[in-house]
């Protein structure tokens, strides 16, 4: 809280417990405005397959519903919602270990959702365990678990220095923050909240519109910075390691289309039809050399999804950018130019496959 008793909305962070307000200008930056990046013919992203990794063989322990993957060195750490396991695979696709599962005494996973690798620790968020975060070491041993100071599901997690940043749904319908929670000492103690929800979502919530579902959002980290992503906008809010607003990524690909609001529904057929009218941002993957950003596109005729890619060689400064497309789900940016993709063959007798592709175009 500032000395005048008002929430310090100008720096992107309010102290824990401070009332949140609807604002679109944070720290002098308009989080609703973005520029579409004009591209030339040379702005095409080329993809060269470097390696494929089939995740095991068809058996009862094979991952079926892969939620997330973290890749480092020669090992892929795979989080699967169906088997409720965290497993490690080498480049040959041999499973090295599995942890978690339905019946584990320690590190039991119910509906594992997101996986974050930071240092030598694997962090697992679990939608079936609400605010629980389980930590495993790189050998698959359960290290410890803790509860985030929240009654809501933890949707995503990023680590920057000694701090954890997590996203949760706003606890209150009129809460206007993204609820990015800062935690100290990696023990779940709440320090403050950062990033501001896009006004489109706030408006949608108040009139029971479908875009209210996109109050959920994700956080990513790279180089000690945290990137807050929302589902309805191509504007990324950038926080420093202390949770202060450090800037915005406000450039968008030419193909981006703003979503339109409609009455709320949980009918999956109607939700898919709505999703097909725009391109929702999925993963913003920052690196020291820029970012790769994926957007999901639905085809209502084939009822198949694909991904559009937008890559730039700088997140905040002048940049060269390129676009591309892939049928496979982008998961992680490795180094500056290698993208990890997940291919899930609809054939139930097949196994999920990880694909490493080298991106060329503007990415250096």
């Amino acid at each position: 809280m500032g000395g005048d008793g008002k929430p310090p909305s100008g720096d992107g962070v309010t102290q824990s417990g401070a009332p949140a307000r609807v604002i679109s200008v944070v720290g002098g930056r308009d989080i609703t405005a973005y520029r579409k990046q004009p591209l030339t013919e040379s702005g095409q992203l080329r993809q060269a397959v470097m390696a494929t990794i089939r995740l095991g063989t068809v058996d009862s322990t094979q991952p079926v519903d892969v939620q997330d993957v973290a890749f480092r060195g020669d090992t892929a750490y795979v989080l699967d919602a169906e088997t409720r396991r965290l497993s490690a695979y080498n480049r040959a696709g041999t499973r090295l270990w599995s942890a978690g599962g339905r019946d584990a005494n320690d590190g039991r996973l119910v509906r594992p959702h997101r996986l974050t690798l930071a240092g030598d620790t694997l962090y697992v968020t679990d939608l079936g365990a609400v605010n629980r975060i389980n930590l495993f070491d790189l050998g698959g041993r359960f290290a410890r678990g803790f509860d985030v100071d929240s009654e809501k599901d933890v949707l995503s997690l990023a680590v920057a220095g000694e701090r954890l940043f997590v996203t949760i749904p706003s606890p209150e319908p009129d809460d206007t923050t993204l609820s990015v929670v800062l935690m100290m000492d990696r023990d779940g103690k709440l320090l403050g909240r950062g990033c501001t929800q896009h006004p489109t979502v706030t408006t949608s919530i108040s009139r029971r519109g479908v875009l209210g579902a996109y109050r959920f959002s994700y956080v990513w980290s790279s180089g000690g910075r945290v990137y807050c992503q929302q589902g309805v906008t191509p504007v990324i809010q950038v926080l420093d390691g202390a949770g202060r607003l450090a800037g915005t990524v406000d450039r968008a690909p030419e193909f981006f289309v703003d979503p339109r609001d409609e009455p709320e529904t949980t009918n999956p057929r109607r939700m898919m039809a709505h999703s097909a009218t725009w391109l929702a941002p999925t993963r913003f993957l920052p690196s020291a050399h820029g970012f790769v950003w994926s957007f999901i596109a639905y085809d209502t005729v084939t009822q198949r999804s694909s991904f559009r890619l937008f890559a730039c060689d700088s997140a905040t400064g002048p940049a060269q950018c390129a676009v591309g497309e892939t049928p496979d789900r982008p998961l992680q940016l490795i180094g500056a130019d290698t993208l990890l993709l997940l291919r899930e063959d609809p054939n139930p007798e097949s196994v999920p496959t990880l694909i490493l592709v080298r991106l060329t175009g503007t990415i250096r």
Binding site: E82, T266, R269, T302, P346
Partner: protein, 149 residues
């Protein structure tokens, strides 16, 4: 009940379904009673109590009517969805090829189970069916409502 758009007394169109066991089935056939659960792969984790309770009742032969699950998944993902659902569902898994049921009935808040008697919804339930008491009460309601009156 959750805020499903289905309602007691609502007419359900009779139509043929495609089922994973390749047996022909018709939903809402005149003169029949069926217990149909509408579901998707991504239904809420907390709703597993409803689904698992129905499985227990079906396996025990405690439901006096034909039972089935009518699910929705994107066409490109049906095979994978079937694989996921088969791991926990033994009842017949069926879908209507053209999504007509999901569009015409505007089915929301799944999973939700309907007793369809002679083409109309006679019972709706989406509650937890964890305990033997909950399961017995539910089976009693189905038994009572499934007979013509």
């Amino acid at each position: 009940m959750n805020a499903t758009n289905l309602a007691l007394g609502q007419r359900v169109p009779s139509m043929s379904l495609t089922c994973a066991d390749s047996l022909p089935r018709t939903i809402a056939a005149p003169g029949t009673s069926q217990l149909v659960t509408f579901a998707t792969v991504s239904d809420c984790a907390a709703c597993e109590a409803h689904m698992s309770g129905l499985e227990t009742l079906a396996k025990a032969g405690a439901l006096p009517v034909e039972t089935m699950v009518v699910f929705w998944a994107p066409r490109a993902d049906v095979a994978r969805a079937l694989r996921l659902m088969r791991s926990s569902i033994a009842r017949p898994l069926c879908r209507d090829e053209h999504d007509s049921l999901w569009i015409r009935l505007d089915i929301t808040h799944t999973p939700v189970t309907a007793l369809i008697r002679d083409g109309r919804i006679a019972l709706l339930d989406d509650g937890p069916l964890f305990s033997p008491v909950e399961q017995r009460l539910f089976a009693d309601r189905v038994r009572r409502l499934s007979v013509d009156r």
